[in-house]
Each structure stands twice: as C-alpha cells, then as structure tokens.
C-alpha cells in the first residue's frame, strides 16, 4: 500500500473543486492527503483509483451499517477515483444543501435499486440499524407498518422519491445525522 506520487494539488484545481463541491479548502486538502496515503504507488492522484474495500475501511465509514450502499452509490464501475471521493465528501459535508442529501439518502436506502423504497428495503434498513439477528418479527412488522403509515401517502406500500422527500423535510434530525466530518485529518 504505497503512496501516490506526491503531487501538490494545483491552486486552480483547488479553486475548481471548491466551486464545484460544498467542501472547504481545508477539507479538500485533508481528503487529498488521505487519498494519497491509500492509493497505489506510482500514479498521479487524478488517475489513481481506490477499491470499495479501501474506502469502506476508512475510519469515517468503518462502523457505518450502510457503508456498502454508500460505496456502491458513489463509486463508478466499482472503483473510487479522487473526484468520486470528493463528491461523496461533499454530499456528507455540513454545508451541503438538504435537497442533495435527500437525493443521495434515497439512493443509499434503495437497496434493490428499483427507484422505490419498498418493504424489502425497509426491512433491510431496520435490521441493519438494530444489528441483532434475533429481532423479533413483531418489532419489525410494527416499525415497518408505522413508517409506511406515516410517509406512504398513496398507500402502495412503497416510498417514492417524492414521499421520501416529503418525510425527510419534516424530519428534524435528518440534516444533523446525515453528516460525516472526519476524513482522516
């Protein structure tokens, strides 16, 4: 696990990334450092890629129950380029706007990737949150029933994106909890 060629980020690149993402200058440089430590040796940082496992084992994502979904949503062709990592950090940054976070939260929670959060997805989410293999049927059914009755407006036992957006706009904890601010500095 050698290091990339230690190219300093050009000032224009830094400015461009600042304009295109929600990250601050310090955060971009910090992610740049972390990326350089992990990527294979001998490559320029703009061409190097990280595997999904490497990103999953970053301290920021290591204990997250949804880390596999996060990696899947933000990677391209199962690898992470530097800009992919920046894009991921931008969505999770504190300054990101709610609509962006809701969009990516929907993609992350849509386990079977059919464009809707249906009961399978909900079941998977609850199981991962509880992280107990012996979660009782009753608990699971009750929770799913409550979630759907609160947010499924058209009664089709699935959450479309509009319904999810509506539910998250009313949720007071969403912006606070959908945040990662430790990328290794």
């Amino acid at each position: 696990m050698g290091q990339c060629l230690r190219y300093q980020m050009q000032w224009e690149d830094l400015e461009e990334y600042q304009a295109l993402t929600f990250l601050t200058r310090n955060e971009i440089l910090c992610i740049h450092d972390t990326f350089l430590k992990l990527c294979p040796s001998g490559k320029h940082y703009k061409e190097a890629t990280l595997t999904m496992d490497q990103v999953s084992s970053l301290p920021a994502l290591r204990v997250n129950p949804f880390r596999d979904r996060i990696c899947r949503v933000f990677s391209h062709d199962n690898v992470f380029s530097f800009e992919d990592v920046l894009g991921m950090a931008s969505v999770f940054s504190e300054q990101a706007c709610p609509s962006l976070k809701i969009e990516y939260a929907f993609r992350i929670y849509d386990f079977n990737e059919n464009g809707f959060i249906d009961e399978e997805d909900l079941e998977e989410i609850v199981l991962r949150l509880l992280k107990s293999d012996d979660a009782s049927e009753d608990l699971l059914m009750d929770v799913m029933h409550h979630v759907l009755s609160e947010s499924d407006l058209d009664n089709d036992s699935m959450l479309s994106f509009s319904e999810f957006e509506h539910a998250m706009a009313k949720s007071p904890d969403f912006m606070n909890s959908f945040r990662i601010h430790f990328w290794g500095c």
């Binding site: 300054q95 962006l100 009961e119 929770v143 009664n155 036992s157 949720s171």
Partner: protein, 726 residues
Amino acid sequence: MSEGSAGDPGHGSSRQRAVHPENLSLGSSCFSPPVNFLQELPSYRSVARRRTNILSRDKQSGTLLKPTDSFSCQLDGGITENLNSQSIRKYALNISEKRRLRDIQETQMKYLSEWDQWKRYSSKSWKRFLEKAREMTTHLELWRKDIRSIEGKFGTGIQSYFSFLRFLVVLNLVIFLIIFMLVLLPILLTKYKITNSTFVLIPFKDMDIQCTLYPISSSGLIYFYSYIIDLLSGTGFLEETSLFYGHYTIDGVKFQSFTYDLPLAYLISTIAYLALSLLWIVKRSVEGFKINLIRSEEHFQSYCNKIFAGWDFCITNRSMAELKHSSLRYELRADLEEERIRQKIAERTSEETIRIYTLRLFLNCIVLAVLAACFYAIYLATAFSQEHMKKEIDKMVFGENLLILYLPSIVITLANFITPIIFAKIIHYEDYSPGFEIRLTILRCVFMRLATICVLVFTLGSKITSCGDSTCELCGYNQKLYPCWETQVGQEMYKLMIFDFIIILAVTLFVDFPRKLLVTYCASSKLIQCWGQQEFAIPDNVLGIVYGQTICWIGAFFSPLLPAIATLKFVIIFYVKELSLLYTCRPSPRQFRASNSNFFFLLVLLIGLCLAIIPLTISMARIPSSKACGPFTNFNTTWEVIPQTVSTFPSSLQTLIHAVTSEAFAVPFFMIICLVMFYFIALAGAHKQVVVQLREQLSLESRDKRYLIQKLTEAQREVRSQPASA
C-alpha cells in the same frame, strides 16, 4: 393520515409480494404493480429528471447534449430558464459531469444580454463572498474542536448540552458588554481622567435626612478571615466597589458637549439585556418549535425520523457504534411499548378513569404540599439569615458566620436535592405513559428549582418593605435595616452564584472522581459494581446551568458585574464538565435526541427568563429606590426615570407617547391583534382540512392507477397467450 383506507395493500402480505395470477380479481386491492411499469409512468420520469437535472429530454441516454443542440432546443424556452439560479454544487451529479454542465452554462452565458451577464456575475461573487465570510466565522466559533470530539464520542444529545453551555457563555458576555458600554464606561472614563468629564451630583431635595444615612460598618480590629468572608458574601470591602449597585451614586456624567444621564442609562441597560435575551432565545428556538408544530398531528414521535435519520453518520468509534445500535433497539422497543400503553389507557373503563383521576388529584396535592413546605423552609431560612446578619456579626465564630450567611443557599440546594427523588417516587403511582412521566417529572423539577429563587427574592422584598415599628412612611422602605437595599439583594444573588459554583465543583471533585476510582480499582466488590460508573445526566445538568443563568438575570440589575462573573463561571464549568464527562462517565444506553434536547433546553431557559422578569419588574416599579445610595436617589421608584425623561421631550413627541400608552390606544390595538390571530387560526384550520382531503384524494388516485395497471397487465397477458390468432 387515512389509515382506514380500505385494504391497506402492503400490510397483510408483507413479504410475499409475488403476484399470482390466480389472486387477481377486479376488486382485489392486493395487487402490487411490477416496478418497471411504475418506472415508465410520466410522473416518475419527470421527478427523476428534476432530481438529476440532466438537460437532455431523453432519460435513457443520460448524457448531456452538445451545446449547440441544447441551445437550439431551449432558445424558445428562454435561456435564463436553463441557467437557473441554482448553484452548480446542488446538482446530484459527479464532478466531471458538473464540469461539463458548467462549461455549457458559461457558453450559454455569452448569448445573454450584458445586463443579465453582469447580474449573474455579481450574484455569483456575492455568494462566494458570503461563503468565505461564513468559513471565517466558523473558525471563530468557540470550542469547536472540543464539541466536535464530544459529539463523535458521546452522541448528539450530550453535544447539544455543551452547545447550550457555549450559547450561555456568549449570551452573558454580550450582556456584560451592554452593561459595560452603557454604565461602566462613562464612569471609568471620568474616574481615570481619560476624558475631560466630571460627575454630576444633585443634592437631595424634600427628603428626610434620615433616609440618606448609609452607615458603612467598620470595626476596630479586622481579622484575616473577615477578608475571606467578605469575598464570599460580598460584604465589607466588596460592598463599596463597583460590583454592587451602591457604588453608582451618581446622577450624571458631564462631558464637554452633553450630559450623560446615568440613571436612565442604568435602567435602559437592564431593559436592553432582558429584551436581548428574550429575542435571542426565541430566535434560537424558532426552528425547533416549527418542527414540533409540523409533526404534532397524531403521532408525537416520528418513526420515519427514527429509521431514516436514526443512524448518526458522524460516529467513528466502534464502541460508540455498538452503543448507538443498542440505544436504537431500546428506543424502538420503548416507543412500541408506549403505543401499547396508550392503547390500554384509551380502553380504560369509566370506573377506572375516575379512580385514576382522583388518585392523581391526591398525588398532585401532595406535590403542591411538598413545594409549599420547601418554599416555607426557604422563607424561614432567609428571614433568619437576614435577622442575624445585622447583629454583631463580627463577634461570631468563623464557621457560624458563614453558615448564617449561606443559610438560604444551603436550604435551596438541599431542597433541590431531595425533591426530585420525591417526585420520581410519586409519579410512579400516577400511571402515565413512560414518555409523559419523564416530561412531567422534569417539568416539576424545573419549576421547583426556578421558583426557589423567586421565593428568596420575595422574602427579601417583604422584609425590605415591612417595618416592625411603622418607620416605613418615612422613606417607603425599612431604612434602618436596609439603608441600601439594592446592594443587599445584590449580595444575596452574589452569594447564590458563588455557592452554586462551589457546589458544582465540589460534586465533581468529591463525588464523580472518587466514584470512578472506586469502580475502577475495587472490581471485587459487587455493590460498587452495581452502582457502576455514572452516566452524564442531561436534565440535571441543564437545570443547574439554567438556575445559574436565572440568578445572573435577576442579579445583573443589582450587581452590574455579575454577568462577567457568570461568564467566567460558565467557562470554568465547561472545562470541568468536559473533563468529568471524558474521564468519569460512561455513555448512557438511553440517548437524548438532539432535536428534542435543543427545544427542551431553550424552553427551560425561557421559563427561567420569565421567572426572572417578575421580581425585577416588581422591584423596579413598586418598591421605592433607596435614597442613600445608587443612581435613583432622586426618584421615587426606579421606573420614574422614564416618565421624567419623557417630560423633557418636545411637546409633540410627548403627546404622541402619551397617546400610544393610553387606554384609548391599547384597547383597540388589543382587539385588532385578537382579530388577526383568529384569522390566522381559521386559515390554518382550513388549510389542514384541505391537506386531509388532498391526502385522501391521493390514495384514491393511486388505487385507480393500480387498478388500471392491473387491467393492462391482464390484457397484455391475454394478447401474449394468443399468439397465432389473427
């Protein structure tokens, strides 16, 4: 939410979602349409397009058209529509696609008029400037790193406590700055001859000379320990310093071009800091309040919030993650338990209801009796302390001295220690749901804690205005015992604050740390292991600092330097609590949610502010100000400064002010406000009805859609199963 809509489709057939043709019937509502059908619907497509904001009309390709194509397509629609004001960061695209989008936008910009171009450019630079400014201010944020690390290790509930503490530090600092600028600065400038100004002292007129006597106690021998007593109780050498009201016996400061009216400035600084505190707290709590209003409806807790926003993505620590999992398990089980209990409550028979209500009435009477007993104890302690303070205090032994001086504080602290235990026992029998139990107990403790200060102040007030042998007509207050009563009230507040600070430090040093040491090193003893390490109890800690803040608010009028002492005190408490948290506490399995906590903290603070305003208004408007000291010697009451100042205004302004404060204006104004309020309430009710109707409509439309898709699927199947037919 219309839960009663016929045949909630997903509910019965939770995990078997396969569509069996045999199950289909025209009236069947168990049909879930295959998802790919739903993805072809125009509504889905337009929402998807809105989400990713891809410029092309064709979703499948998913690529951006070349500049010329998009230009010609959208020229009719107006280019400005395309270059929407949404910043490019908000698009849900990856960085390379955003780059292309930005290039397209820039080429399209060239086709805009000069004015539009300039508008866009200036709005972009303004936004960039705002961002840089925001980035700068976050660097200035106090204790940013500490609070972040606490959040990572202990969760957002405890982090919100420390954010609240930081807010109070800043608030107290700003209050002190207001008092400093309005009251202290002119005095300091004159005293140290920085500006060429003099003090204006207006001699007393029409006043009995008796009222203006202010004997400064000076005994012959001064023991060493009397300095310590003076420091701890504000008497002796501290009494004449600028710490207390009595120092400011100045009627004005004469600068070269104008005379600075110090009494008016003193009163205005008090009103200003109360108003500022109120506005700031309300502003901070508006977000929490709005959210609480929105999600009221039938559920007081939102499962969506708990599931989709349940995991705190900030967590990096494995043990913290385990704790979060277990707290989520606990929370969900508790919520479902609560639902079950509420069902049970709704099914109570009338007999049981009557029994429960009489029991609750009885128990509430007990609660009131406990409160009354505590208040009476505080009254007695204060009366005793005040009486004995006047008698030969120099001849007493050191410990006895201090005990008498601090008796009210000690009784208050004891009462605040015992009553929560009593309340917790009582509420057990009142048979409420668990969530409500917690809230009611906290509310009772809050009320108890904050009302004790009011009782203390009222006792003092009654002592000040009651004269045993009718000497009150002379000056309006008991000038024999209290020649400068504001200073003495200030001293009581000062003592409360110091004692509170000492108790917090003592509890941390002598209870928390030894407990941790015992638990770590006496692993053998089962009893100690049962007791265990302590958890950071948020409600108690919050009550503690709100109590301190209420003392500061009341005391700042009588002791202008008190906010500065409060600032220092809170800064030290921050570090002490942080150390205690990091080294002696274990994370609690039952975690507070940040959104709930913030609202709760600010609500308690608001209650404290309201309870602080009451004694202040009474003492400013009703009790005559002391004639022996202070800036208000020439006025009957403190409030009289205002009418006197108004009478120096030009007559047109005077008539305007008199008109605005008269009844002829107030009553119609009040009626108009009531009408406006009724209008908004009616509007909100009408909107709510419309929302309910639209929701029902939505679910009906969805049923129609499913029905049509079902028919379509059947028809397709029929067509496919007859391949050879003509």
